[in-house]
């Protein structure tokens, strides 16, 4: 199945990419995809702890199974809004 992965912020810096299209085997979960990507982009592994997973712009748990055409992103701790905390 075809999966699109998006990288933002620190993960964009770590991979040098904004987007990646790949072929994955049926039944792969979001968390498994992340581990596979760490093999390809070793610097990604530095961020594992605080990441959330999203599929088609919704937060999901790491064991969420992916489906053909899904858009997956790994969400580092957010820091938008204001500069005044």
């Amino acid at each position: 199945m075809k999966i699109k992965v998006k990288f933002f912020a620190a993960l964009h810096d770590a991979t040098g990419r904004r987007e990646l299209n790949l072929q994955a085997q049926e039944g792969l979960t979001a968390g498994e995809l992340y581990r596979d990507l760490c093999a390809r982009f070793p610097r990604l592994a530095d961020y594992g702890g605080g990441l959330m997973h999203s599929v088609n712009a919704e937060y999901v748990s790491p064991d969420h199974p992916l489906r053909d055409g899904d858009e997956v992103a790994f969400i580092p701790p957010v820091s938008g809004g204001t500069h005044a905390h």
Binding site: F8, D13, P77, S79, G80, G81, T82, H85
Partner: protein
């Protein structure tokens, strides 16, 4: 409801116009602006990155949650992305309500929630370095 992620400079007036109703007595606006220091460090500029579709969806959920919880009339939220200089506005939240107390509370709640759930990130650039910020002030581990 107005939700906008944009690389263009933010102007409060259209948000005020958007939320105001004839039954509104109060509009409370929050503007987040880029300041020149953070954690004792002199900041040169910021860069905001966002996952736009997801950020808009999450902002909409935050707004709906607040509208269901406070008797307010409407909410508008605009978040800027890209490079922002000191003094530029990164975020505007506008809330209107018949009575003022609710507008203050709801506006504060929106600002707090944005920092928790909305996939937008800021990178601080200072002299000799830069770092993506996590949450309210921690810096990310810096990969070698």
């Amino acid at each position: 409801m107005l939700i906008r992620i944009t690389a263009d400079p933010l102007d409060p007036q259209p948000l005020v116009e958007h939320v105001r109703r004839d039954e509104s007595g109060a509009v409370v606006l929050f503007l987040g602006v880029v300041r020149n220091t953070n954690l004792g460090r002199r900041v040169l500029h910021l860069e905001y990155d966002a996952y736009p579709q997801m950020a808009e969806k999450e902002l909409r959920q935050v707004a709906e949650e607040v509208i269901s919880r406070w008797p307010i009339s409407d909410i508008a939220i605009a978040h800027r992305t890209g490079r922002l200089e000191i003094g530029e506005t990164s975020l505007i939240v506008a809330v209107s309500s018949p009575h003022r107390q609710e507008a203050f509370e709801a506006c504060q709640h929106v600002v707090n929630r944005i920092k928790e759930v909305v996939p937008i990130w800021k990178k601080e650039v200072w002299e000799g370095g830069e770092s993506w910020i996590e949450g309210e002030g921690q810096t990310t581990r810096q990969p070698q």
